[in-house]
Symmetry: C2
Subunit: 426 residues, 2 copies
């Protein structure tokens, strides 16, 4: 018998029919002799609809009210799942974040969990109930509802798993696990049986969107085992847990790509002390999240500054640059929206020299030009032309020995079609 937390996202509870499916799934876990606690997100587009309602009344709604408003979404789905479980003959009891003992700081709209008092959940389990918990929300020291930020339900699930000492926190979604690369892009991608927290975090940070980073960080801190799996099949997914000697010792765990960034180059910047600081502090003040930064010397006394940032920040970035251009005496700037960041990630990298060389070689062989580079101890990222995304991911997947013998069934598109699709999807 295991103690299992099972988390279901908004797509899984988008309609009464889907909630029924989730109920059957939860009932099956319990039926197999386990104790189970369900955590749910709001139904489908509920959160977006509530945000629209709020914005119709206030362009900058007070954060306290916004949190109270949005928290109703998960409160609706929790009661509906409890009702569906009851129809299946199970005793179920719903709990708001407050009742589940999720205590947070007072930072409305992205509160941090400071304590989990899971006594009430434990008691409900002991009484034979299936507790159903509203994700995404907690309560601050004032007794006010807070929310954990978008995707916060994953974090709720991990926190509850920690609070009740669950054996595993199962996170169900429409993806059946963590792959060595996006299987739509690299048809020979393999599903990982396990991945350690560091690799998962690093992969998430560069585009692999299976799990919320905060949830993984929380899991790493408190050693909660996550099982990322499909809500639609029974096959096992990927376990995210501490690195053990038994884990496969691949040097590179996975390849991630991210086409959601843009590259901006400011040209003809005087090569003087403090200029770069001026540019990047102005960008930071306008909440532009700059990622990779490169400074080239292109002409005598003049330099180019290149950086990447999320496409969502582009407008603010342009406004910022236009306002500092005269001040820094730069000539002009240009924007390249059609780029991709391709990253290789692996804890094993630390003890394996020559990884960078191998990466650049593989890309060079395919005549893929590297526009920028950034690194972490367990990651190497390059920026390439958007049209070369697929080729880059595939050649690196092969070069680092990640190719499966099987070709991923769902990947039927040609490299060209995929490239077009990836650009369109941006």
């Amino acid at each position: 018998m295991s103690l299992i937390v099972a988390k279901f996202g908004g797509t899984s509870v988008a309609s009464p029919e889907r909630i029924q499916m989730v109920a059957k799934r939860v009932a099956a876990i319990k039926g197999a002799g386990n104790e189970v606690v369900a955590v749910v997100s709001a139904m489908g587009k509920t959160t977006d609809e509530l945000v629209s309602l709020a914005r119709a009344l206030n362009t900058d709604p007070p954060a306290r009210e916004m949190d109270r408003l949005l928290s109703t979404g998960e409160q609706i789905s929790m009661t509906l799942l409890a009702m569906a479980l009851s129809t299946l003959g199970h005793q179920a009891m719903s709990f708001t974040g407050r009742q589940a003992g999720i205590e947070t700081d007072g930072t409305h709209e992205k509160a941090k969990i400071v304590k989990v008092s899971a006594k009430r959940i434990r008691k409900a389990l002991d009484q034979g109930y299936i507790p159903v918990i509203a994700g995404f929300q907690g309560i601050d020291f004032n007794g006010d509802i807070t929310t954990l930020g978008r995707g916060g339900s994953d974090t709720t699930a991990v926190a509850i798993a920690w609070g009740i000492k669950a054996d595993v926190c199962e996170i169900y979604s429409d993806v059946d696990g963590v792959y060595t690369a996006d299987p739509r892009v690299a048809p020979r991608a393999q599903k990982l049986t396990t991945i350690n927290y560091d690799d998962m975090l690093e992969l998430s940070s560069v585009g692999a969107g299976v799990l919320q980073m905060r949830a993984v960080e929380f899991a790493r801190k408190y050693k909660v085992v996550i099982h990322a799996r499909s809500a639609f099949t029974d096959t096992s997914g990927t376990y995210i847990k501490e690195a053990t000697s038994k884990m496969e010792e691949a040097v590179i765990t996975g390849i991630a790509h991210d086409t959601s960034e843009v590259k901006i180059t400011i040209r003809g910047v005087p090569d003087t002390t403090g200029i770069a600081a001026k540019v990047f502090s102005a960008l930071a003040n306008n909440t532009v999240n700059t990622d990779m930064i490169i400074q080239n010397i292109s002409e005598v006394g003049l330099t180019d500054i290149t950086f990447t940032c999320p496409e969502a920040d582009l407008k603010r970035a342009q406004e910022t640059i236009e306002s500092v251009l005269p001040e820094i005496g730069a000539r002009e700037y240009d924007v390249d929206e059609d780029i991709a960041k391709v990253s290789i990630v692996g804890t094993g990298m630390k003890s394996s020299p020559g990884i960078a060389a191998k990466m650049f070689e593989a890309l060079g062989e395919k005549e893929i030009n590297i526009l920028a580079i950034s690194t972490s101890p367990i990651r190497l990222s390059v920026v390439v032309d958007g049209a070369q995304t697929v080729a880059a991911v595939r050649c690196l997947h092969t070069a680092f020995g990640l190719d499966s013998e099987n070709i991923f069934k769902e990947s039927q598109l040609s490299a060209e079609e995929l490239a077009a699709k990836l650009q369109k999807g941006r």
Copy 2:
């Protein structure tokens, strides 16, 4: 400066535009130098929609979960009104039933308020906030959300008014006050400036739907002054308060009619002890709310039993009667759906003899046949043929001196058209 509770129903907050109108109204009360607390219902049809969702998953949803589900409706409207007030430059803060200190017993779906701890509301007022409270809900001794039953937001408003010792509890709706009769039926009906609690309760009990009875009962018990008024005009409505010597001393305060009941007659019932008890306890067991009961002796040793009940209970009533018919040895039963209960109400009745005679005389003059009679110390009700509803209300309105010199503007229909409309509306 007054301390005012202002309650707005579901129609008044049905859309962002209407919430903006409500916000302006609340802001105007505050702007006039008053302290104000707003109480809101769920937006428009929200509650109905949530009920449908629940029923899709469970034909008999657990009451605890149902309460939690439904309570989200008011929590959405409270935050939206707070946001709208904030847009108008007012500091507003929303409060759930729990936070507003509405403590109830544990009867889910129709909980009774046992305590109001309004400290938090008082504190928010002292800090200059406009508190916005979710109606319809409270919290029981387990810390679980309870709801007060349909229309419970009126009760919340009165309870809060009592808790903070408000000068008045203003209940805004699409009706601008309490009338001596339904102005659509009796064009010479007058708006009452004041009405005492007893008359209001009695009028509500026989069809005048301006206010929830429980709210009026609560107000009577704790001497809370209610001001029932229109959400769409600034004119004063009707004050519901204790009878004082200054109040107009009309013998009859108002005429109410109710076309939502049906009349059922069981024929050929043996005139033996215990038969009526058998019939009415069977009806009660099937939750049929019987109203008027008449027993006639029609043949030697056989009697007819006639009663009225809400049309909504008709199916259950028929099932019950069919099952007891053989047992009680009765012959048959028939149903008359086309009836109306017309009532005259007035505390003054107690000290004025001859009211019944005057009523029957007035009806007789118009050749309106009385099918059944029931009374209370301050009310006289008769059942008449549905087609005669309008004629009955009008002749009683005239007979008891309630006619205004002005004819109600909105009443443009002929008596026949009205009769048809009233029957159709059933």
